[in-house]
């Protein structure tokens, strides 16, 4: 996966995201998720790294499943009835489908980000037509995400060392406990962004409109095969679903 052209991986991640909006068949979603996990395994990135990253998506997916019954109570049979919180089987299955979509999208973008060096990611985006400065902004934002997650951890440790127990109280209290973390995180993010922009200027960024590249991208035969396959299969499946031949 590391050797595949970044443009192919970017197109793949985007196509997967678009496909997920059409997917609701649990079997199809599960099979696709399983295939993607095999792909993740083949990247060789490592279980610990994957676990740390995908855990966020897992939590988000679980929240969706838990919160879904407040908004969707259609269908029968009724599995759980707790005043305003009613869980029906069809609604539960729909929430599971959404959860699986979240995990699919997260896994797909994980493969892209962890198998593509930042420079290649920017180059791929630019080759696909994105302006260089936008491509750079996106790749820097993605690369700084783990750093900000680390910063959040350090802030939590600092708060704990001053006697603030973030895990005290019920779910609403715990959510409120995270608000003080947002303040320093946003301040650090803004300060980092300002310093980074100054560093870029010092390194001559924007000095010339015509930017040269040390390494350029070249698509090989395998890249073309993968790209054609994605570009054919995904629209074909979406077309089948839209025309009603199959329910994805």
């Amino acid at each position: 996966m590391h050797r595949v052209d970044p443009r192919v991986k970017i197109v793949g991640a985007v196509m997967l995201t678009i496909l997920c909006f059409f997917l609701s068949n649990l079997v199809f979603l599960s099979v696709l998720l399983l295939l993607l996990q095999i792909l993740v395994l083949l990247t060789g990135v490592g279980w610990e790294t994957y676990k740390r990253t995908i855990w966020l998506a897992v939590r988000l997916a679980l929240i969706f499943i838990l919160v879904w019954p407040f908004f969707d109570q259609a269908g029968e049979p009724l599995l759980l009835d707790l005043w305003a919180y009613k869980v029906t089987l069809p609604a539960f299955l729909r929430s599971v489908a959404v959860a699986l979509r979240i995990l699919l999208i997260a896994s797909g973008w994980f493969v892209l980000i962890f198998t593509t060096p930042q420079s290649q990611l920017v180059r791929g985006l630019v080759k696909l037509g994105l302006r260089y400065d936008m491509g750079l902004s996106i790749s820097i934002a993605l690369r700084y995400l783990p750093r900000f997650l680390d910063t959040i951890e350090q802030i939590k440790e600092a708060q704990r060392s001053r006697g603030f127990d973030m895990d005290r109280g019920g779910p609403i209290m715990k959510a409120k406990n995270y608000i003080p973390i947002l303040i320093p995180t946003v301040a650090i993010a803004m300060r980092t962004a300002e310093e980074l922009s100054q560093v870029l200027v010092c390194k001559g960024y924007g000095a010339s409109k015509a930017r040269t590249y040390l390494h350029d991208l070249h698509m090989g035969a395998i890249d073309c095969i993968i790209l054609v396959s994605i570009a054919t299969i995904v629209p074909f499946l979406i077309g089948l679903d839209v025309l009603g031949f199959v329910q994805l």
Partner: protein, 279 residues
């Protein structure tokens, strides 16, 4: 014999990525000690500090605070006993004003509002922060932010505080304020552990030093003996204090090893008075 304030036995810590950060660390810290914790980057100093604060779970071994296992203590209980000043001030500023920042920890440990305000005023004055008290700490200069974090930790008046690079980013005047505050804090019978690469700071503020190297404790003794042992310092990837190096190059020695400016002057006077000759 009084029980130690902190007791560490066989502490080992391996991070999730497999890095062995600490290996078999055992030590005791008594009340009122001023200890320097030194070692090169990656030697395990910050990891050890986090264990003493209960922020990490050991892979093996244990940490006792006043004879109680730290893992049996709650967060507020630990926070009343042990304080930690993190290296990066930006990771520990959460409140809208400097006053609120200093009061944050005091309220968490259950201090009544009157006592909390009194302590806040005292430490704000001690660190020269009076003019910043109603301003947002995040908008202040780096040095002042650092002083705010020092004030917010010292104000909690815990039995033991761990200060990671307390004078980093401080100019000369600010560093003098910080060192004076640390001395006053320690003079009240509390234990201070200073983590620093600044050997001059360690020499001036601590009586005992612990040296870590590659996660192991390789020395634990008088600061004077440790900072005067060039071979030990070299093996730990550390430099002697500038004055110690200068004295060594001049072949100047006194009754004790020269590690501070005061020692150097004392040694010179001793040579002048004929007590000792140059080596």
């Amino acid at each position: 014999m009084t029980a130690p304030l902190v007791s560490v036995s066989g502490l080992t810590h391996t991070y999730e990525d497999g890095t062995l950060a600490l290996e078999g660390i055992s030590l005791e810290i008594s009340r009122g000690e001023r200890i320097g914790l030194i070692g090169e980057n990656g030697s395990g100093k910050t990891t050890l500090c986090k264990h003493l604060c209960g922020l990490l779970i050991p892979s093996s071994g244990e940490v006792l605070i006043e004879g109680r296992r730290i893992k049996d203590m709650s967060i507020p209980e630990i926070a009343r006993k042990v304080g930690l000043l993190f290296q990066n001030p930006d990771n520990q500023l959460f409140c809208s004003t400097v006053r609120e920042e200093v009061l944050f920890g005091l309220r968490n440990i259950g201090l009544n509002e009157r006592e909390a305000e009194a302590r806040c005023r005292r430490y704000v004055r001690m660190l020269g922060l009076q003019e910043y008290v109603d301003r947002s700490p995040l908008m202040l200069s780096l040095g002042v932010r650092r002083l705010v974090t020092i004030a917010s930790v010292l104000a909690m008046e815990q039995d033991i505080v761990l200060l990671d690079e307390p004078t980093a980013w401080l100019d000369r005047a600010q560093a003098a304020l910080a060192m004076e505050a640390i001395r006053d804090f320690s003079a009240s019978g509390r234990t201070v552990v200073i983590v620093s690469h600044n050997m001059k700071l360690i020499a001036e503020l601590t009586e005992r030093s612990i040296v870590l190297s590659h996660g192991r404790k390789i020395a634990d003794g008088r600061t004077r003996d440790i900072l005067g042992d060039n071979a030990l310092l070299e093996s730990a990837g550390l430099s002697p204090t500038p004055i110690s190096e200068f004295a060594s190059q001049l072949g100047i020695a006194g009754k004790e090893r020269v590690i501070t400016q005061g020692d150097f002057i004392g040694a010179l006077l001793s040579i002048r008075d004929g007590e000792f000759s140059r080596r």
